[in-house]
Each structure stands twice: as C-alpha cells, then as structure tokens.
C-alpha cells in the first residue's frame, strides 16, 4: 500500500547549549511519517525522543536549537520557523500534543470546560453556546459521563485517568492532523492504561489522525503501533513495521531492549538489564553509539557510524552486523523464542 507522507524529517540535528558546552541531543535523524498511521518512537530515558517531538512543534527550550536538517510538513519546511507567531500556525491546529502527566498538565484554576473551549475558540473560531456545545461533544467523545456537569468542574475534581481524557479532548478540539502522545500512559494506573490507549485508537479512526507515540513501554507499542522507530542516543537505530521490529529485530540495542521486558521474562530467570549507561552527548560520538555497551560489537562499530541496511522495504537497521562482510551473529536465544510465536503481540 503506497502511503502519503505527511511529515518528513531529514538529517535533523538538535543542539542544546548547556553550561557553555554544546549537547548534541539529536544527531542526524531522518524519518517519514505516513498519513493515517500510528508510529511509535521507543527508547530509554534521555535518548532524545521527547526533544525530537518537541522540535516538531517549536517547543524546544530556549537554549536548544535545530542546528541542521529540515522538517517538512505539507510541503513547508517548518524547521526554518523562528518566531512564536509562525509556530502558532502549526501548534494545535496541525500538530497537537498529549503530555505525560495529566495531574499537572491542566490549569488548576480553570474549569475543564473553559480549557477545552479555549482550544475550540483558537482553532475553530467558536464562542459562547456553540463552543460549549462542541466542548460537551468532545467530552462525550473521550468517554466522560454527564459532560454537562463535568464541564463546570475543575481539574482537581477529576481522577488521573479522567484528566488524561480531558487532555485528549483538548488535543482533539484543536482539530489536528497529527497527534503526538508523549508517554500518554506512563503516569496512569495499569488498569487505566489500556482504556486510554484504546480511546486514542478510536479517536484516531474517528478524526482520521496520524498518531505519534513516544514511549519507553514496549507493551504500549505492541498494542497500538503500526510502525516502530527505535531511538538510541539521539539517533534512529532501527525502523520497521511493528511485527518486524518485535519478531525480527536486527540491532543489538533492540535485542537488549526487548530482552529487558519484564512481562516477557521467564519465571526463575534473572531479569535482563542493559549494562552501562548511554553515552555522553557532549562528546562527539564515533561509530555506533551503542558499541560500548554492546556485547556483539565489531571493531568497526567503534570507528565508523553504520549506515542503514535495508532488511525489507519497510524495515531497516543501523548496525554493521547487517553488512555482508560481517560475521554471522545470531540474536540472543530470547529473541528467537519471541519469534517462534510464544508470545502474542496483542494479548
């Protein structure tokens, strides 16, 4: 199926100026987001996934800047935007965002009705009774009972899961094309997580959204994503369809990430954890950023940054192991077990 690209990122580099030094947070990321898909960006804390998505909306902190590359949205290079005014054309109306912690992402002094209504006003130009009608519709959409009463209530009268629903309603009320969900379930109860994810999926169908999930939770990925992008130290190291990345991962980092899933561990065996810490981003990284923590690292991994090797038309990975000249390395036994289909993806 040929898909239309809605957002195209080319060789994006983002730097932060911190205590007089430059921190290279994103190091040459290229990514195409297809219209109508749900894409998951996974990686451990500090790998740059949040910064990457913030840059798509011009929400980088003031000491960060796009040093190189382009972000093309609907034919316009939005990475060239400098003023808030330019970004306001994108924010909300084109790309909306759901933040991680619903307990803090609503204004405590405004009724939730007013907060959703602000989005309706900003992006649909509605006011008064018409706007209120719309808000109540959105509240119903996100599964809040008795929206007429809830409209007048304040965030502290809502539970965490309910607040996240309100945050989602705000995002939807902006009428966006792309919805970025920055760890939408991390701060929620496990019981609520599945509800929120399926809500996002329903809304995606209803409003024909393209959804980008940022998460470190591979369980979330398995539930919702069509495509997965694995990030490490500010770079994409593997990209492919959900099944491809889960059942046929190629990059040793993806192996390690999957192996450390506690849900998929075997009782009695010690839980796997990745040794070491991510590299220091102040320094220029030579070769493969994961090499120092990679038991499968080749000599060249420390010298030359691997290019992407295409595994299938939709699957590629940035590791020298895929080079025809590389010695044959089998993925850890655990991955093979996954492959044999011992675990269903959408349980």
């Amino acid at each position: 199926m040929e898909q239309k690209t809605i957002l195209s990122i080319k060789d994006l580099e983002i730097e932060f100026r911190l205590r007089g030094k430059d921190l290279h947070v994103i190091r040459g990321v290229s990514l195409d987001v297809h219209e109508g898909e749900s894409l998951a960006i996974v990686g451990e804390s500090g790998c740059g996934k949040s910064v990457f998505t913030k840059s798509l909306m011009g929400l980088l902190d003031s000491n960060g800047k796009i040093a190189k590359g382009s972000i093309t949205y609907n034919g316009t290079d939005i990475s060239a935007y400098r003023t808030e005014k330019e970004w306001m054309k994108i924010r909300g109306g084109e790309i909306a965002m759901i933040l991680q912690d619903p307990m803090t992402s609503l204004n405590p002094l405004k009724t939730i009705g007013a907060q959703i209504e602000e989005a309706v006003y900003l992006h649909q130009g509605l006011k008064g009774a018409a706007a209120k009608q719309k808000v109540i519709e959105y509240l119903r959409d996100v599964g809040i009972h008795d929206p007429e009463t809830r409209y007048k209530q304040f965030p502290h009268e809502f539970s965490g899961g309910m607040r996240q629903r309100v945050v989602i309603a705000i995002a939807i009320a902006c009428n966006p094309k792309i919805l970025i969900c920055d760890e939408p379930t991390t701060a929620l109860d496990v019981t609520i997580q599945a509800q929120i994810l399926s809500l996002i999926n329903d809304l995606k169908e209803k409003y024909k959204l393209t959804v980008i999930f940022i998460t470190h939770d591979l369980g979330v990925v398995a539930n919702v994503a069509d495509r997965v992008v694995v990030m490490y130290a500010g770079d994409i190291i593997e990209e492919g369809l959900c099944e491809e990345v889960f059942f046929d991962p190629k990059h040793p980092y993806t192996w390690a990430l999957l192996s450390s899933l506690p849900q998929l561990g075997v009782k009695g065996e010690e839980l796997y954890s990745i040794k070491g810490t991510p590299p220091n981003l102040y320094k220029k990284i030579e070769g493969d950023a994961f090499a120092p923590r990679n038991p499968y690292a080749l000599k060249i991994d420390f010298i030359k940054r691997p290019p992407f090797f295409q595994v299938s038309p939709t699957h590629k990975a940035r590791t020298w192991l895929l080079d025809p000249r590389a010695p044959k390395v089998d993925p850890p036994e655990f991955i093979a077990r996954l492959k044999e289909g011992g675990y269903a993806l959408n349980e």
Binding site: M88, R91, A96, N107, L109, C174
Partner: protein, 313 residues
C-alpha cells in the same frame, strides 16, 4: 463555608478576648502615674480619691467585667495623659481616617504598579525590562528607606512647588507621602509576582497551553497571572488593614497627624486607656485580615475549600 466562617469568627472573638484580658491585667501592673496628668503635684489622698473615682481600687475581676461592659456599649474610656479627659474614640476618630486614606492609596498604587511590573519582568525574563526592574527592587530593598524618603521629600516638594509639611486640603501634598509609602510595597509585590510567574511558567499546563496553540500574551494573562496571584492574595487584605496602623516615619516626616507611632507614644506616656484601645484595634485588624485573606484564597483558587477538613491544601 458559612458554617466554617461562623466557627472561625467565634474563635477569633475568643482570641481577641484573651489578648484584651492579658493586656488589661498587664496594664494594672503599670505605675499609677499614667492615670493622672499632674501626678507630682497631687497629695496622697487626692490620688486615692482619684483612683477610687476611676474604679481602680476595686478587685481585678470586677474591673475586668466593668471594662467589657463598657466595651459592649462602644465605650473605650477616656484618655488620661495623651489628651486628658477626651474620649479615646474621639481621638482615634480624627486620626484613623487620615492613615487609612494614605495607606490605602499607597497600597493601591503598589498593587497597580507592582503586580504588572512583576508580570512584565517574568514575561521578558532576562531582557532589559527584567534587569531594570531587578535593579529597582534591589535598590529599594538594600538602601534604608529613610534615605530615599528624605530625597523624595526634598526634591519632590521643590519640583511640585509645595510646602514640606502635609496639608490634607491640598491634593498635591498627598502625592509624595503616598509615593514614598508605596515604593517598598511596589518592590515587594513586583519581586514576588515575578517569582511566582516564573515558577508558573515552567509548569506543564503552560506547555500544554502552548501546544494548544495559545500565544505568549494569552498564556501570560489568561493562564499564568491568576495562578501567580493566588499565593500573594492571602497577604493583600492584611496589608490593606495594616494601613490603619500608619507609617511612623512618613507621618512624622511630613507632620501628618495620623496613627503612625501613636501606640509607642501612648505606651511611653503610660496612658493606659489609650494603650488598651489601640491594642484592641490592632488585634481586630490583624484577625480580620487573616480571615479575609483566607476568603480571598477560596475565591481565587477552586482547589481550596474552607469547609472540609480533608482535601484542598
């Protein structure tokens, strides 16, 4: 809420009674000179007769009951030394309005200038306006007030072409005292407003508002400002009521016959009835200020509910 307020007021009255009783008892330990204007010239018998007339030879409990009885009828007694045989009420009635007018004007000025100043400093954090404002705040807080009060008086009166002393009838002579009095508060409100605004602006809900597509000034005025005022609001009623107390320095500088320094004055001259009345006034003002501050918080912040024990903050 109503129930809470009733309880709160009842408790405040009790506090007031305790304060008054303690002060009343302490004042009985003061030398008896305070009850007579020309103590030195009086004979022992004259003094005894005088004390008896004033009921001061009665046992303490009787005196206390009589004091509260008079108080309930709105009688604060008669000044003995400060202005002999003039009812305390009349003395205060002349002074209080002047101090309140002066104080409330200066507080109003401080709020009108200070809050937006802090807001703008936060909005343009690190830019010229912020640096300029910080300089102003540091100056006001570091330099002793007496120094710039004097400068304002000297240069201000010359500039306006008015006399150094205060004249309630001439509106121009209000300008300098009000301005001098408000400077400290402008710096205070400006500093805290900036601080709370900066605090708020790093919160998640501001990020969400930005992601929603709200612009800079919309975020500043519709989202952050009110949230930043909440922690400050608690103190506004107290500082308003404190204007009754007056400013010793400003009032003496411009010879304003207000409340400033009155308490110190009457204590020095051991005018016990005056001390008693002024203590009553200040204690009431303080307690009302606290209650009003709490009510204002409830109005501004829906999370705070005074009625319930659980929940809120």
């Amino acid at each position: 809420m109503i129930k809470y307020l009733c309880k709160r007021i009842a408790r405040s009255l009790l506090t007031l009674v305790i304060i008054l009783t303690v002060v009343f008892c302490l004042l009985r330990l003061m030398p008896i000179e305070g009850y007579f204007q020309n103590f030195d010239k009086l004979t022992e018998t004259q003094i005894q007769v005088g004390l008896q007339e004033m009921g001061l030879t009665d046992p303490l409990p009787v005196q206390i009951v009589r004091f509260y009885g008079q108080l309930l009828q709105g009688d604060l007694g008669v000044s003995r030394v400060y202005r002999a045989n003039v009812p305390v009420m009349d003395i205060l009635a002349d002074k209080i309005p002047l101090s309140i007018r002066l104080g409330s004007m200066s507080l109003l000025l401080a709020l009108i200038v200070g809050l937006p100043m802090g807001g703008l400093m936060a909005r343009f954090k690190g830019k010229f306006f912020d640096k300029f404002g910080t300089l102003f705040i540091v100056f006001i807080q570091a330099v002793p007030a007496a120094v710039y009060y004097l400068f304002i008086q000297m240069f201000g009166t010359e500039l306006l072409g008015i006399k150094m002393t205060f004249d309630a009838e001439d509106w121009r002579s209000w300008i300098l005292p009000v301005l001098s009095m408000s400077l400290g508060n402008i710096a205070y409100y400006g500093m805290w407003m900036r601080r709370y605004m900066v605090d708020e602006s790093t919160k998640d809900y501001v990020r969400l508002a930005k992601a929603k597509g709200a612009g800079g000034s919309r975020i500043t005025f519709r989202h952050i400002m009110r949230n930043a005022i909440v922690p400050l609001a608690q103190y506004i009623p107290t500082s308003f009521l404190n204007t009754v107390i007056g400013s010793i320095y400003i009032e003496s500088l411009y010879s304003i016959p207000g409340m400033g320094g009155l308490l110190v004055d009457v204590i020095k001259r051991s005018d016990n009835t005056m001390v008693q009345a002024i203590v009553l006034l200040y204690a009431t003002v303080g307690i009302i200020g606290l209650i009003l501050g709490d009510i204002l918080m409830v109005i501004l912040d829906p999370r705070i509910s005074l009625g319930k024990k659980a929940g809120g903050r």
